[in-house]
Symmetry: none
Subunit: 197 residues, 4 copies
């Protein structure tokens, strides 16, 4: 009963599964998770409703796989940003990271919002989000330490930086208030973060 999920091996099937995830991703992003139904996803993916349940346990399962894609999309470029570095000039690094963070938000605008939202209604999504943050914090911290940065309080510093970048990116991408000059704000945030390190 429970194990009727197909792990597609053939190329055509893999493509189909990915089409479903993509359709789910787009629809969830556009209309929100609760405003999207499986029939729509199937239709958007160009498959029947039935086969959706051949690849996924249920609707939430699609979301979870979409979440993984999202995480990879957002996480990887930020990490790879530090790969090329040999010394630690935060006056250069911080603006780059902020830029990348904002870009990631912008590129996945709607999905970020939806996924973030689900955090309140779904434990599993919340857990994955938390572990994404953890992984980012750990990876970045290790990178810094390997480049000679003192290990003391490095987790706390990096974690603070991450939530600040996220907040700012979220702010700039979604909440865009008229009374704020975002260039100025970005400069303030940048200086603030440099002051940590």
């Amino acid at each position: 009963m429970a194990e009727t999920i197909r792990e597609p091996k053939q190329k055509r099937s893999i493509e189909k599964k990915e089409r479903i995830i993509k359709a789910g991703y787009d629809l969830f992003a556009e209309k929100g998770y609760f405003n999207t139904n499986t029939a729509e996803i199937a239709k958007a993916a160009g498959v029947s409703t039935g086969i959706v349940y051949g690849y996924f346990h249920d609707k939430r399962d699609i979301l979870v796989e979409a979440l993984d894609i999202y995480i990879r999309t957002v996480f990887t470029p930020i990490l790879s940003l530090l790969d090329g570095l040999s010394d630690l000039n935060f006056a250069t690094i911080v603006p780059m990271v902020i830029e990348r963070g904002v870009a990631a938000h912008r590129e996945n605008k709607a999905m970020h919002r939806t996924l973030h939202a689900l955090t309140a209604e779904d434990e599993l999504v919340a857990a994955r989000f938390a572990s994404l943050e953890e992984e980012m914090t750990r990876s970045l911290s290790e990178k810094l330490v390997s480049l000679g940065y003192p290990a003391e309080k490095v987790f706390e510093k990096v974690h603070t930086a991450i939530i600040v970048v996220q907040s700012f990116a979220h702010e700039e991408v979604y909440d865009h208030h008229d009374y704020i000059h975002y260039d100025e704000m970005r400069r303030i945030v940048t200086d603030m973060l440099i002051s940590i390190f």
Copy 2:
């Protein structure tokens, strides 16, 4: 076909309406908006399902009113924090504000999460959240300026401070990662914010 939402004048009615909002607030906070149905709200409020629609247009309307309560609950104490001040010693102010922000989060823990989540599925909620931030930024900025703080970039500074405090409070209240020492992190955030002003 006139809109038939009552603006209850009598005390008994006002109480009843408030009981419904309170019940909605608690239930939404506990189980999320989509996992709560109107019958439950009515029952928890001790009224009939039908009369809910005498006081509210629809289910979302209850949410919106609950949102207002939330906003008042969170907003007022932070603003009043600055009321007693006569000079601007940020080394004192910043920790107080952070403390207040975390407390507000803690006291309204679940509701914050739910409301924040709805931001992605509901335009109106998103708009109210945005205007809450705007109002806070404006009020606080004016307060600072009236106390002699230079007006230049004050909106941006205050706004940055607000989102940072929010992020940190959210972090400390919900996401509580094992690998983070929150005392240290709070100190880092405090210093960081002081550095802005």
Copy 3:
């Protein structure tokens, strides 16, 4: 969640609940349990699909209530048959009981079949059927003993009689084979049962 079942107090509601059970009863009897869906039941009862779930947990719940009706219908007349007796003349009693048993079968023909069938797919139904038999055996046995019949092996005798009557009734009502003269067969069964007592 689980306790949203209405226990209707008002006459109109009780009637409605009974209409649903009756509709279920008839439809299950006519087309079988698995070939009947809730929408049909609702339609036949002249109610909406939704309200069915106001009165019953699920489709099977309707069946269970129908089963209770069936049991009462079949059981009561047979028991009351013995009520008027003051002495034990089995040459009179046995034909009467057979007659009543066949009549009960005939009157509830299709439902008996369906209910009996469900025994194989549903534990609860099987259990209720078993306890019906138990109750019948006990009641009849007590009755006989109170009228002076020796208590020794009375359960076994009565139980045997019950299953024989049931089998014969089932046979006569449903399976009606051409090569059998049912008058003769009934006489054989009658004599056979008299021989027990």
Copy 4:
């Protein structure tokens, strides 16, 4: 549009068809007809879902073939029981037949239940069951008459015996009530049947 059901001639195919019937038999017996799906049957038989429709018209067709197996299984040993007889000593025959009937029930316990159940939802199954009984009655009657038993009412007597044995076997195998001593009951049934002949 010719009917495309294969009548498998090759040994491998015949085996495959029989594996499907066997799988169906076991699964239907275990979980009931409606709670078993064709994919499960195919999997249990070690074949693809598609090929099932190469050997059977539809799901019910599998059931029908399983029914035939069941009938042979139950029918043959009882008939052969009488093969060795040369005289008619019912005091010996009746207990043997009862014993065989109970054994057949016990060995095909679950399937009997399922098949019997289907009687209510499926005409064809009902018809086959009826003709099984007819065949048994006729064969046994002929046997008896050929051994010198008077032909008068022999069908009715034999048929009565058959349904009684069936009922008792069903009772002993499935319904096993605590308040019944089955040894005693079997003795009662035995005596009762001997009294017929």
